[in-house]
Amino acid sequence: MSTEENARPDLQSDQTEPDQTPSDQTHQSDLLEAVPPAEEAAKVAIAADRLSLNYAGRPALDAVTLSIRHGLVTAFIGPSGCGKSSLLRCFNRLNDLNDECELSGTVTINGEDIYRPDVDVIDLRRRVGMVFQRPNPFPKSIFENVAFGPRLQGVKSMAALEDTVEWSLRGAALWDEVKGRLDRSALELSSGQQQRLVIARAIAVKPEILLLDEPCSSLDPISTLKVEELIHDLKSRYTIVIVTHNMQQAARVSDYTAFMNQGRLVEYDSTDVIFTNPKDKQTEDYITGRYG
């Protein structure tokens, strides 16, 4: 109660400051323009244009248009079932696995339409790595987990694989904890370690973009902290898109934040703006905890 009351006046005072009118009349087409002009020149990694998705006839995404900046961390927030994970899965075409999934609109990555029929989905997924909500290490050794992607790409030399595994595990801040037991089963690791192992596995194929689907939702606070630090470190090398329902986390790790609700992109702006000066009433309600 008290925290809410403390938080609200702040936000309200922020809101009244600029001349933007907080309303729900924001259209998706406006959102692209809503990106501050100073960063327009920055490279766009992923762009979705009027992206709609139906699961078995039930709409999951409704005409989402947004562009994700290269080399930054973008967070998707929103209540459960708002379509943020579905949107994420459009970026590496993981929704293709579901037969009942219909998609319209376009998604471009580095300017290329990834839903063109002649696109090599396998290569796309290599370039766009993904980490899931629950750690999903393969029932293999730690080494084999990380080496799985490179092996699929035909890397056979043991020396090369060892290099990649060490590089990836170091990259995922896990090397020091597991270097002595690479041949042990990955299932023996704690869930925090497993999640970092999965991140190591994802970066072992040297992707350009990392999609993190609520990577900390099943982790304890200390593991969460480690993964967040890791995201911070990885930022310099990868474009990261993270789905989270933890708003503090979004505020801590991301540069841009998109708020989604009921399959629509409600508001998309730099994290600072979203959390201190949201333009939309829904965003404000969600962030202040009145909702969801």
Binding site: L97, D123, F138, P139, F148, L187, A202
Partner: protein, 511 residues
């Protein structure tokens, strides 16, 4: 803790019975199942043990109407109480005026047979220590006394005890007489002795009616004095007979080799079947789960697979006969074994076709078990593979297949249990009473899958019908049945062991 109520619920017979009706009835059901299993095993076990346990030989003095009492030697095979209160004993003995009376002047005694003795006619019964049971190579049993022993034509001092005699020989360090000593040891089976070791020895044997015959050592299979044997000797005798699968009490219409051949046949057939059914069932399950989708074709396939499990096994036998033996085997013969025709090679029943047919029979079980295992694999695992750029086939091969293996092995356990006990289809597919050669031997190519084979289940079936004196024959039946149970158990346990090792590896993931 004063505030906390102390539970009075402890395990007592009463607490076990109390509780809700569902808990009670489930306990009763479980108890019944366990009782049935235990009863089956106990009956088999007691029958088998009695078959191999050396029984005492009796000397009965029997008084027939008005005549003087005469001795009868034999084993008590049963007892029957008549309605009027009188009892009679079923004796296995040589005294019966059977169809094969002793011919004076020859060295043959009459064959043993069953005879009923009214208990009132038996004036005296005893178990003399030196009463001897002798089984000869022609399958006859005799009960009587050894009167004299001769080695190389020389008559030896004989006290009446075979043990004394063999010790005497051992003390004299007669290495060359090993065979004889073996034969003389109570309950020792001399079957395995090679003829090279054989020296000329014979004994003078006298039966209850004082007929004497000289029997050559080479003709003797077993020579025992069970009455004088102590418990340890009896146990040793039991063990020896168990290993050779030969009864110390009665002629068995079989040889130890038959049992060995039947075990070989059963195990080999099950192994070949496993080799066929595991890849077939596993891959079919992968197809159904991963590729078939939810269309009408997949539905038809699933229904077909589930219904196949309910088809009576004899129908598989007919199918195997028509398809494998006549169609496929006949074609094989025309293509590859034309020089041997009209003698069929693969165009007749044999181990391979029996194993293939049983593989079809057990296929549904394997498919269903594997598919269930595949369905239990978390979706996220496959997605993890796809997210790394795995193709569907790579995800199946490297991620799903290893995890489906324990399920496949569960299916194999059920399949093995079913196949090892199946008899009906085998009768159409090349199982025989007596195989002239094993399907596996030292001759190239070592594994002869086209050969006819023996099978424990069929052997059991055959024994049951061959045995007219069921009462005593049950012993052998039980022994073979127990052996079949043991073979199935060993096959099953090895699959369980394999599966548990795999489960250990993946347990954390599945939980």
């Amino acid at each position: 803790m004063p505030g906390l109520k102390v539970s009075r619920r402890r395990f007592t017979p009463k607490s076990w019975i109390s509780g809700s009706w569902i808990s009670l009835s489930s306990k009763l059901a479980t108890g019944t199942v366990i009782a049935i299993i235990v009863a089956v095993l106990l009956i088999l076990l007691s029958g088998a043990v009695s078959y191999f346990w050396p029984r005492p030989i009796y000397e009965f003095w029997v008084e027939r109407s008005g005549e003087a009492a005469v001795p009868v030697h034999g084993i008590i095979a049963g007892k029957e109480n008549a309605a009027d209160g009188s009892a009679r004993l079923l004796i296995r003995s040589v005294t019966a005026a059977g169809d094969d009376p002793a011919t004076p002047g020859t060295d043959r005694l009459p064959a043993a047979d069953y005879v009923w003795l009214p208990e009132t006619a038996v004036v005296q019964r005893s178990r003399p220590h030196h009463l001897t049971a002798m089984e000869t190579r022609d399958g006859r049993w005799h009960w009587g006394y050894v009167v004299q022993l001769q080695v190389d034509g020389e008559i030896l001092a004989y006290t009446g005890s075979l043990i004394d005699f063999s010790n005497q020989l051992l003390a004299a360090d007669c290495a060359a007489q090993q065979h004889m000593i073996n034969a003389l040891r109570p309950a020792r089976v001399a079957d395995a002795c090679s003829d090279a070791e054989f020296i000329d020895w014979r004994l003078l044997f006298e039966d209850a009616e004082r007929r004497q015959v000289t029997v050559a050592g080479a003709d003797i299979l077993q020579l025992m004095q069970p009455n004088g044997a102590g418990l340890l000797d009896r146990i040793a005798s039991f063990a020896t007979h168990l290993v050779t699968f030969r009864s110390p009490n009665r002629y068995a219409p079989h040889h130890g080799q038959d049992i060995v051949a039947a075990i070989y046949g059963t195990v080999l057939m099950v192994l070949v079947m496993s080799l066929v059914v595991s890849p077939l069932g596993g891959l079919a399950a992968v197809y159904l789960h991963e590729y078939a989708g939810r269309g009408w074709l997949a539905t038809v396939l699933r229904v077909a697979v589930n219904n196949l499990a309910g088809v009576p096994s004899i129908i598989y036998g007919v199918f195997g006969l028509g398809f494998f033996i006549h169609a496929v085997g006949g074609r094989f013969d025309q293509w590859f074994f034309a020089d041997k025709l009209p003698v069929p090679t693969f165009g007749t029943g044999g181990l391979l076709w029996a194993a293939m047919t049983l593989a079809l029979l057990t296929l549904p079980v394997v498919i269903v078990a594997t598919e269930e295992a595949l369905a239990r694999i978390p979706r996220s695992l496959k997605e993890g593979g796809y997210a790394l750029g795995a193709t569907q086939s790579e995800a199946v091969r490297y991620l799903l297949w290893p995890l489906a293996l324990p399920g496949l092995l569960t299916g194999m356990i059920l399949a093995v249990a079913r196949a090892a006990g199946e008899v009906a289809p085998l009768m159409l597919l090349g199982v025989v009473k007596q195989a002239s050669s094993l399907p596996i031997d030292g001759n190239f190519p070592f594994l002869h899958l086209e050969r006819k084979f023996m099978h424990l289940g069929y052997y059991l079936y055959d024994l049951a019908f061959r045995n007219t004196n069921l009462k005593e024959g049950l012993g052998l039946l039980f022994a073979v049945a127990l052996l079949l149970v043991v073979v199935v158990l060993v096959l099953n346990l090895s699959a369980v062991f394999l599966r548990n090792r795999l489960y250990d590896r993946y347990r954390k993931l599945m939980s």
